[in-house]
């Protein structure tokens, strides 16, 4: 299964929000969604990644982009992780059936039982605008890559 490609519709998916409600394709409307898939809550690299994105969250919002962290951790673990980091980026859980959404997006690491470190940008129309997988789970994609993708989106719309 390879990473979902730009130009294709987002696969059908279902994730859990922190309050236990569902986050599905219907929630993509009206915004540019950036799914930040990360291997594990509380792992050191993931921590740095979300902290960095949090620091430039206003600039993301200014471009109509909303970020979500996605992992296979349970909702409660993600909530504790979010609180520990002190970030406001909403977390979405792919806990049960484990990894179903990650598989649908082509980011599931079968042997590791975790998402690969990947970024997927989805337009308000539900079409994938950009996707990126880090060369290794230890590699942290810079915020600049997301801003490049947003700039390319704006360029296409012109």
């Amino acid at each position: 299964m390879s990473l979902v490609a730009a130009g294709s519709p987002a696969p059908d998916f279902k994730l859990r929000r922190g309050d236990g409600s569902k986050f599905t394709n219907a929630d993509l409307a009206g915004q540019t969604t950036i799914l930040v898939f990360y291997p594990f809550a509380f792992s050191p690299v993931c921590t740095d990644q979300l902290n960095l994105y949090e620091e430039v969250l206003e600039q993301f919002a200014a471009q109509g982009a909303t970020l979500y962290g996605v992992s296979c951790d349970a909702v409660w673990s993600q909530t504790a992780f979010k609180e520990k980091l002190g970030v406001s980026i909403e977390q979405l859980s792919d806990f049960e059936p484990k990894g179903a959404t990650c598989r649908a997006f082509g980011v599931y690491h079968e042997k590791g039982g975790m998402p690969q470190r990947a970024l997927v940008m989805i337009g308000p129309d539900g079409i994938v605008e950009w996707s990126y997988m880090a060369p290794s789970p230890g590699d942290l994609p810079g915020a600049n890559l997301i801003f490049d993708a947003l700039a390319a989106r704006d360029e296409r719309a012109r």
Partner: protein, 160 residues
């Protein structure tokens, strides 16, 4: 148009803070004053007699005191005391609250009232943010990050 898209590392400029001595081309270091790994790197640079330019890369949610400390260094810079304040901040990373910052300013003989006004000013905030954003655009993701001759280079502490 995205203000934070990829861009090359800005070359050394007149308002970069140069530290250390020697004739080697300076390293460019993105770091903050609260990060313990940055503290280790700082000690090594001093020990090795390196020459480096220091650029701010404070990440609030990771190091809640890093922004205030960066602004304190810039406020000191306005009184010609960036380097001594920089050294004083790294000399005790466990004391970065307001009274500790005032104490350092006093010990360095700065005008403390002016220091306190400056460190909260928009100009100082913008100066720190400019460093931070140049790092984001050059792909810096964590602290400390060191560039040598334009290339990211491992000069990281052994501890991770």
């Amino acid at each position: 148009m995205s203000g934070l898209g990829s861009a090359p590392l800005p070359p050394l400029g007149p308002d970069d803070h140069l530290l250390g001595a020697g004739d080697d081309p300076p390293l460019i270091v993105y770091a903050d004053y609260e990060c313990p790994h940055c503290g280790v790197l700082h000690a090594r640079l001093v020990r090795d007699g390196a020459r480096w330019a220091f650029r701010h890369f404070p990440v609030r949610s990771k190091h809640p005191r890093a922004w205030a400390a960066a602004c304190a260094a810039e406020a000191a810079a306005l009184q010609g005391a960036f380097a001594p304040m920089h050294m004083a901040l790294y000399a005790d990373q466990a004391r970065l609250e307001d009274p500790h910052l005032w104490e350092r300013a006093r010990a360095l003989g700065l005008d403390v009232e002016r220091f306190d006004a400056d460190r909260r000013s928009g100009a100082v905030l913008a100066r720190v943010r400019r460093d931070f954003e140049s790092g984001v655009r050059a792909g810096v993701v964590t602290t400390p990050t060191v560039f040598a001759l334009g290339a990211k280079r491992p000069y990281a502490p052994d501890v991770t």
